[in-house]
Each structure stands twice: as C-alpha cells, then as structure tokens.
Amino acid sequence: MSVVLRSTLLLLITLLGAHLGMAQEIGFSSSVDRNAIATGEYVKLTVSLSNSQEGFAAPSFGGLAVVQGPYENSSFNYVNGKMSSSVSKTWVLTATKAGKYTIAPAQVRVGGGVIQTEPITITVSQGAAKPADTGAAQGQSRDANLFATITLSKNKVYVGEQVVATYTLYSRYNNIELSKYELPKMDGFWAEEIDLGNTGWEDALQTVSGLQYRVAILKRQVLLPQQSGKLRIAPMELTCIVNRSFFNRGSSMNVSSNAAELTAMALPGSAPADYKGAVGELAMTVKTDRTSVMANEAIELTITYSGKGNLKLLDAPEPEFPTDFEVYDPKVTDRITVNSGGMSGSRTYQYLVIPRREGEYPLEPISFSYFDTRSGSYRTMTADPITVSVSPGVGGPSAGIQRPNKTEVEVLGKDIRYIRTGDLDLRPTGKHMFGSLEWIAGMGAPALAFLLFLGWRGKRDRDSQDVLGNRRKQADRVVRKRLAEAEKALQGSDRASFYDTLGKALHGYVADKFGLGPAETNATVITQRFAQHAGGEGLAAEYLKLMEACDMARYAPVEDRPREQLYNDAASLISRTEQTIRS
C-alpha cells in the first residue's frame, strides 16, 4: 500500500470523523503469536489501538531483543455510516537465554486519561544448538521454498562462441515481490541482453526434488567469452518480500543463486591472415548496384554478413579500392535479433565510392574469414571478383580531380645523412684564396693593365699632335728606304738614278730631321740647325760636301770619289747624325 493512499485514507478518516462526530469506543490491546519459544526462535508482538489517532510508544520488552520492527499497520472500516479504524505496531522479538520474560504493558494517552494493555509473559526454553539468526536474513538460498539458479546453454565453448545464460527464480510462496536484484558482473564476457518482454510466472509448475515450484525467468543473456580458460559467473543476489498483503508488510528474504562455470576454449592458432575475430555460422555476400558508370558517378558496394554468431562484434571490412576512387566511410545497418537461440541476423556495410577517372578497374576480391563453431575450424569466403568500368564523365576526362588523402611522412628512425660522393672539391690544406699571391696578382693585374693602357693612350695622343716630332722620328726610316734604293741603283750601274736617289735621300733626311720647309732647305739654315747640337758643325760641313758631290755628279760627269765610297759616306753621315741629334 502506498504512502499516498494511506495518507489519503487518514485524511478521509479525519474529515469524516470531524463531520460525523461519531467516534467509536477506543480499544487498546497487545498480543503475541505464541507464548513459549525456544532460544533463537522468534515471537511476534502486536500492539493495536482502535478508533483513536493518538500515537503510542513501544512497551518495555523485558529483556527480549528486537529483531525487526516496529512495522506500522493501519486499517479503516466504514460500515453503515459507522466508521472504525485501527493502528497496530508489530515487533519481532527473540531471546538468547532461556527463562521467563515479561513484556510490560503499553500505554496510550487518550482524552485526558491513560489506558494500557495487559502484560504478557513469554517462556523461553533452551533451543537446539543452532546459531541465532540475527539480522534480516530470514530466507537463505538454501530455503527450500525459494531459490534461484543460473543455467548456461553450453558449458564448453570456443572463445567468441555464444552461450545463453538464463536466470531463473523458483518459489513456493504465493505472494512474492522482487524488491531488488543484482545481476552478477560479467568478467571475461561480452554480454547481450535478450528481450523477454513482460516477465512473469510460467504457466506450468516445475517439480524439483519432489516439490512443486512456480518458475519465473528473470533474465536471459547471450554471453560471448572474450578470453580462454575457466570463466566463472558470480551468483545472482536477490531480495524478495514474501507474503506481503494489505495488512501484512511481508518478510524480506535474500536469495543468492549458484555460481555458473564455463570452459572457454582458445581458437586454433592457424588463423588466416584476414581473420578478425568472427565466430559462428556466418556467410558473406558482396553486391554492387552497378559496375558500369560514368566518371564522378557513385557506386554503392554492399557487404553483408549474415548468420548466427558474434555479429555485433564484427570489425568493418577493409575493401581496397583503386586510388582513383573516392571512398566514403561505410554506412552500417544492423538487423540483428538476440533471442534464446543466441545472436543472429545480418550486418550490412554500404560503401559509397566515386570513380574520378575513366578506365577499367578490377577491384581486389573481398574475402572474409570466420571460425566455424560447427566444424571447429576456420573458413574463408571470397566474393566473386568485381570489375568496374568507368566511362568518361560529362565534363570529359579532366573533370575528375584526383585528391588522395594526404598524410604526413612518418619519421620512423633517425640517422645521419649520407656522405658526399663524387668530386670532393679538394684544396691543399690551409690554402685560402684570400690573401694568396695569386689573389693579389689577380686583383692587381686589371689595375696594372688599366694604367698601362692609360699610359699608352696618352702617349699616342701626344704623338698625334706633334707633327714635327713625328717627321723627325720618321726621318731615319725614310732615309734608310731611300739609301736602299740608292744601293740598288749602285749595283745596277745606273749612274744618274744613283746620284738622284742619294741626293734626294740626304735632302729629305735633313728636311725631315729639322722640320724644314722647301724654302728653308739651304746651306745657311742647315748649318745653323746642325750647329744647335753639340758636334753638329762637322756634320753640317760633311753634309754640304756630300750634297755638292751628288749635284755635281748628277749634272756633270765628274766624280771626285768612287760611287761606293760616296754611298758609304752618306750612310755613315746619317748614322752619326742619328747618334748626335737625338729627337
């Protein structure tokens, strides 16, 4: 009975009582369910007050120990316009020593007076040597009237194979409420609840060791062992309240089930390379919605795993696609039912792939390995090969832009860089270009060359302005040329030509040497010019004599000396003049 209901009733009583003003006679009594008990047994003391709302205190129990209580109970009757109500308190008492115990009268103050109950005497005899049950644990799992079990569908399975665990409550009580139950913690299992719908008592009774029980399946689980070895499921703990009624609070019982044990066998070691932990009786289908598309059109690739097994624990398949395909994360659809037969159904992975370039693309065959629990061996299924043919898209071949996922280059190790190979560009040790003789020469040479160039150029410019100087400088060269001609004439015995050439040579030489014009070429000027140089007078006289000899011989057949000597004299004169008159 809920608190709300009870307080509503009390409110009603109060209202009605006030309105009607017809209070019934007040009764106050105490009673025990029995007067004689053995030590360790219980006696129930009930104190009831009728037709009054006053509260009363607990009486003195005279040395008896309180095991439970007080439980409060109130009742209300309304018959033919007459209202009656009662409030009672119940204690469960016990004694550890034999003897006589007297429960003192309970007292209540009503309408100015005090009324009290009769005292009660309890005789406690020495009971059997069983330990006194203290605390609330009235019911044990050993209680033949109420117990719970954990049963497993199999006791020996492979790791990953399904086992169904059933948690059952057996009861001989008619009225039973589960106040709380604690399921064991699952260590080493992956557990999946089986939806039982509305749980309740089974229709049929079950007979266990000669007694008939009502049976309720509290829970079913599919267990998948995740590790090999002996696995233990701890007992389930239940707290039940039995025999509860409107008037009776019932009694609380703790029930603890058996512990279940299971042997999980490790899978054989020879697993295929692509094995990813699938266990059961499974199958795979691979489908594509189409295999011939235009570039940039989507293809849907569907991989379905179906059957009975650990479908919910399956890893996503990793189909390999060409790099020209853009692949999106798969969409996962589960159609998995979990019932007392275990986990079964299908899991579907839908991959959306978009080929970005045209071409024929044979896809890597998709394979799937699982451990078959029926045969106790691994099985590998390989789907039929699929070839996708992609024709150029609407925008032509260039429409697709291939965008592979970029990742950082991973640094796996560190080492020094490799040595230099080939030409090491060796130099003599300690030899540096800066400050070396070669460097200084290299720096100085252009400057030197430039200075030399400037000097040469300056001299040339000066010379080109100095006509007389040039003429004088040329004089020697010209006269040598003419003398050579004269010598030729001498050998050719051409007398007239010889004298003519020699005379011109001498005349021209002097004119060039002193820069004289035609009018100035006379004996006076020549003598004067020669005289400006030391030792020039003798040369002037000799020159004039030679010129006279040449003129004479030209115009008259007179030769004062042989022609060879004349020539030699002229050459000698020029030579000496060059030495005497420098520039």
Binding site: I416, I419, L424, L426, F434, E438, G442, A449, F450
Partner: protein
C-alpha cells in the same frame, strides 16, 4: 701593343693559378673511400679519407670524415669534423643536420648566451659551401671594374661614357665590399679558438693548477672557446659565459 697581350695573359694566369690542381691519385683515393663507406666498412673508409686529409681539405671531405666517426660511434670526433666542415661551409644543410644529430648524444647542455646575431642575412651572404666565395667575387668585381673603366675611356659616345663611369663607381663599391667580406670570412676560417672536449669527463678548475676548486665538469663533445694557453693549461669559456682552466690535452681545436 705587346704589353697588353702580356697583361691579359697575366690576368688569365692569375685566375687559373688560384684553382690549385690536385693530383689524380687523390680522386681515386676518395672514390675508394666512398666505396668502402658504402660497404659499411667505416674504419677503413676513415683511414682512406684521413690519408687524403693529411694534405688536402674541403668541406665535403671533412663532412665525410665526420660521418665515418659518427658511424664508429666516436661522437666527439664526429662533432669536431662537422664543426670544421661547417666553418669552411657555413651554409651546408647536410653538415648542419648531422651535427644536430650528433649533438643529441652530448651530455652537457650549455645554454647559449643571447649573443648579438648578425642574423640570417649574414648567414646567407657569407657563402654556403665555398670558403673562397667572396675572394673569387672580389676578383671578378675588380676585373669588371677595370674593364668598365677601360671601355669608358675608349668609348666616344657621351651618354655611354657617363653610364660606364657610373657603373665603374658601383663596381668600385662592389669590389670594396667583396674584399671586406672576403677578409672577414678569412678571419672566420682561420679562427681556431674553438675546441671540442675529447675525453669522457674533464674537471674545469678555477686556476691553472691541479687541486684547485672544480668549477664545473665537462663531458665529451661539448664545445668550448679557448681564450689562452699557458703552462700546459688552457683557459676556456663555455657558450654560457663560464670560464675555467683545463688541460689542453683533453680538447681538440676545431
């Protein structure tokens, strides 16, 4: 006219003389060393490279020797040769990378003082792998300067003459600049004040004498600056500014 031919020959000769020729057998030695290194016989490769290094040197050669030492797990010598290579070729990325790796196994971590940093600009212009870079540039700048001057003197067109003289002015500054850079690089290259600790552990003392206070302890591979050496003791300075005395036998100059 003969004089100009002569000076031209002189210039060309001076340029070619700077490239000192190396005997052919050195090339075959280095090739052999490279092969032995590739085969993983580092000790032999080191001996071969060392035999070349007795008379010849280059950043690449020093780098290769450093690699041999690294592979032989002689980290202080590896650091020494990487530092030597880096001094000749301050911009060499390979040397830097390997030196960085070698320094990771050095025990001492010396916090460098925040020194005045010429920054990356100087790092860029002081030359990557060629220690003679600025000396060579100065030669070219000088040659171009006088070529420009000569042309300016010869040319008759007035605008051209002026432009060439302006160019000569620029080239004059370029020459000055490159000569000063070359001089600075030369001082850097010839500076041997830095040294690497070669022994596993060395006590650095407060005075050039045994049984004086130990200021700090250095381990192999740490770089120090040698301030002076007297009476078999070297005064060294760490990058963090600490100064102390240690025996010169425990360090090797870069």
């Amino acid at each position: 006219m003969n004089r100009f031919v002569l000076s031209f020959v002189l210039i060309v000769a001076s340029f070619s003389l700077v490239r000192a020729d190396v005997p052919v057998e050195m090339d075959s030695l280095t090739a052999q060393a490279t092969r032995t290194y590739a085969a993983g016989e580092y000790e032999q490769a080191l001996a071969l490279f060392d035999s070349v290094n007795t008379r010849y040197s280059s950043p690449s050669l020093l780098y290769n020797i450093g690699n041999c030492y690294f592979k032989l797990n002689d980290i202080p010598h590896a650091i020494l040769f990487y530092e030597r290579a880096l001094r000749l070729a301050p911009g060499d990325a390979d040397v830097k990378a390997n030196l960085e790796l070698a320094r990771q196994s050095v025990v001492d971590r010396v916090n460098e003082l925040p020194a005045f940093n010429l920054g990356s600009t100087w790092g860029k212009i002081r030359g990557g792998n060629d220690p003679d870079q600025w000396a060579r540039r100065s030669l070219w700048a000088c040659l171009l300067l006088f070529l420009a001057l000569t042309t300016a003197v010869v040319v008759r067109l007035r605008i051209l003459k002026r432009a060439l003289f302006a160019l000569s002015g620029l080239l004059f500054f370029a020459t000055l600049l490159s000569v000063s850079f070359a001089a600075y690089r030369n001082s850097e290259v010839k500076d041997d004040s830095e040294a690497i600790v070669m022994t596993a552990k060395v006590d650095v003392r407060s005075e050039p004498r045994t049984n004086t206070t130990v200021l700090f302890v250095l381990h192999k591979g740490t770089k120090v600056i040698v301030l002076k050496t007297e009476n078999q003791w070297s005064e060294v300075q760490l990058a963090n500014g600490s100064v102390g005395w240690m025996p010169p036998s425990t360090i090797e100059r870069i």
